[in-house]
Subunit: 185 residues, 2 copies
DNA sequence: GGTTGCATGTAAATGGTTACATGATTGT
DNA sequence: ACAATCATGTAACCATTTACATGCAACC
């Protein structure tokens, strides 16, 4: 499964520009299980157009350059359905964070602490926006399912990090009042 | 973080051949957060050798071709430590399974059912071997942490799949006795 | 007799990232 | 004045996958 199929999937839900597709991938409902930037999306759209799987309408805008709004074509729906008939392979995960955790004994404590703090903050924010999103919008069963999946995973990770961060020598920084009475680092 | 750094990390724990490294990546403690095949490992080892980060000893074997056992060099340890000083970027996840789930309304029910069954079976097996591994071996804190992390994630996913699979029209196949007294499909 | 495991590698193709290139508008 | 958002795209580079190529030993 590649960026082209991803674009077909997104366009099967509603027309969009390359810019909007990228937004859906980086912030929207696909962000839990796919990444793609401009550098892969725009070429993918061009190729899909050339093969007749999507079509493109120029939309003039006031005070802005023209938009290229893409829409899925019948052949595109067919190609998407075809891709969806093939059993999915295993997930691909690559985590530099876990690599760092694995070799935490070789890393500076400060880097570890920072990495944990950042990740925990990120998880909290993500979980918050996802919960909000679940309430506000009405969703297809598929969208609700993947959102719930992502939430379940992020919540499990957050809980794990919060209760196990001390195991790696990346303990929480001393609370503020400890500094006043305690020793400096 | 790339395969070269991964190899350095693995070799920092013990000497190994390319074949053994690949085994550790596909089945061992790294399998939860990294993938790599022969096609990327062997070239990585060659490059690391050329740059003097690892060294290689030929080990003759009876009835087998020679083994190339690699060991990390001081410069290699330094390079690893350096890589570990850089704060980790976000995780990269790519899941065809979630893509299929998202667009489940466009996919054949049979494919969905199969995908769920397979994934659930895979998760159960993985969780089992990981639990066994946790008991049997003594581990570095980092290894124990990442193992626990992987377990937490896999357990959360398994629980989610088991309780929500019906939402997508991929219900469990009818139990065996239902077939005897019930209607055919 | 066939499959799995040990053991090493290369070449081509795929797929994606990063950096560059451009430019107006809106908000702080 | 500066940053962010909207908006599109290309070119060079990077990393990884896939397929190929080889061969013996052990097990079923």
């Amino acid at each position: 499964m590649n960026v082209e199929i991803l674009c077909l999937g997104i366009l099967s839900r509603s027309d969009a520009t390359g810019y909007e597709i990228r937004k859906q991938v980086t912030e929207g409902p696909f962000s839990h299980f796919y990444k793609a930037g401009f550098g892969s999306i725009y070429p993918a759209l061009r190729k899909l157009s050339e093969r007749g799987l999507i079509r493109c309408t120029l939309q003039a805008q006031e005070k802005r350059p023209d938009k290229k709004v893409y829409a899925i074509a019948p052949a595109g729906r067919q190609a998407l359905a075809e891709a969806l008939r093939r059993p999915p392979g295993p997930d691909a995960v690559r985590s530099d964070f876990l690599f760092l955790s694995f070799f935490s004994h070789l890393a500076p404590a400060e880097i570890l602490r920072e990495a944990f703090d950042e990740r925990i903050a990120w998880l909290r924010a993500k979980i918050d926006t996802m919960r909000g999103h679940r309430e506000g919008c009405d969703m297809s069963p598929g969208e609700a399912f993947t959102l719930g999946y992502g939430l379940a995973v992020y919540e499990a990770i957050l809980a794990y990090l919060e209760s196990n961060r001390d195991d790696l020598g990346a303990p929480n920084p001393a609370p503020v009042d400890a500094r006043i009475s305690g020793a400096a680092e």
